[in-house]
Subunit: 138 residues, 2 copies
DNA sequence: GCCAACAGGACCGTTTCACTCCGGTCTCGA
DNA sequence: TCGAGACCGGAGTGAAACGGTCCTGTTGGC
């Protein structure tokens, strides 16, 4: 199996959709999220840190602290989330930076990968957390 | 960087497009292919074996032996080649076999991944070696 | 000041990646 | 017939990535 998402990316999306189910600004603790979405808590900690660093989530320390979305759920896409934890999506060496392969200027295959990449980005960039969340919870 | 093709997959496509430049049935040796496409030869050996096993290439042993496409270049796609060496393409756990994740039946994210997978397959399955080969060499 | 909760960095076992090596086998052709 | 040329196939390998864990801060509410 190739071309597959990492576990970290999958968990990140689960965590973010969990937050998206609640009203804007709702804070949930690491533990809440981990329990609800069945994500190992110590691993989730790392993932949430990445999301905070990327500016997609905000954290609140101290008692009653936790995590919340940094902006409305309709303004965060699957692509944003995945790239925050796994780094930029690049379906082949040459799709992120054509300089990586000296053949790229004349390579027909390169063009095919660019199309593939674009399609993938379109799908992932077109899905917002809002559209992923089940009926909101009050 | 996530969701990226392996080197093996990339090399496989290079090797196959090399074969596709020649008239049907043309045999090229491991060494020829490796030199022309700048692929480490001992690694290429493994890759070509996978392609032969998958029925995409045929091999000829003994002096003047080598490899050739098993069918016309217009009947082999990028998808075929990649799956032969890297195994089935699956963009997430749940896209190959929904049973892998018990959430899949109700998961909205799952549907998004299915769309992404389909788009990717469409692109890769729509590109034949014929269309990738530069002007054929006599 | 205590306790709840995140921050951040070190660590770690396993798997995958990207190759390499080598003995074996087949085949042509001199 | 015999040997050089070429693939077969399985084992091995070093480095890196994956998928976590742990532990010591630090912060903030009550
Ligand atoms: S697809 Fe073409 S340009 Fe891209 S890495 Fe392969 S050879 Fe280079
Ligand atoms: S996307 Fe949904 S169905 Fe697929 S693995 Fe993640 S949770 Fe499971």
């Amino acid at each position: 199996m190739g071309l597959q998402l990492t576990r970290g990316g999958e968990y990140a999306i689960r965590a973010m959709t969990y937050l998206a189910r609640y009203p804007e600004g709702h804070v949930a603790s690491l533990r809440d999220i981990g329990r609800a979405q069945e994500i190992p808590e110590s691993f989730l900690a790392k993932i949430l840190q990445s999301l905070v660093h990327a500016g997609l989530a905000v954290s609140q320390r101290g008692a009653h602290g936790g995590f919340a979305l940094a902006r409305p759920a309709e303004q965060i896409t699957m692509r944003d989330v995945i790239e925050a934890v796994d780094g930029p999506i690049s379906v082949n060496l040459c799709t992120l930076d054509p300089e990586e392969c000296k053949r790229s200027s004349t390579c027909e295959v390169h063009k095919a990968w660019l199309r593939a990449q674009e399609q993938l980005m379109d799908v992932l960039g077109g899905v917002t957390l809002k559209s992923l969340a089940p009926q909101p919870v009050a």
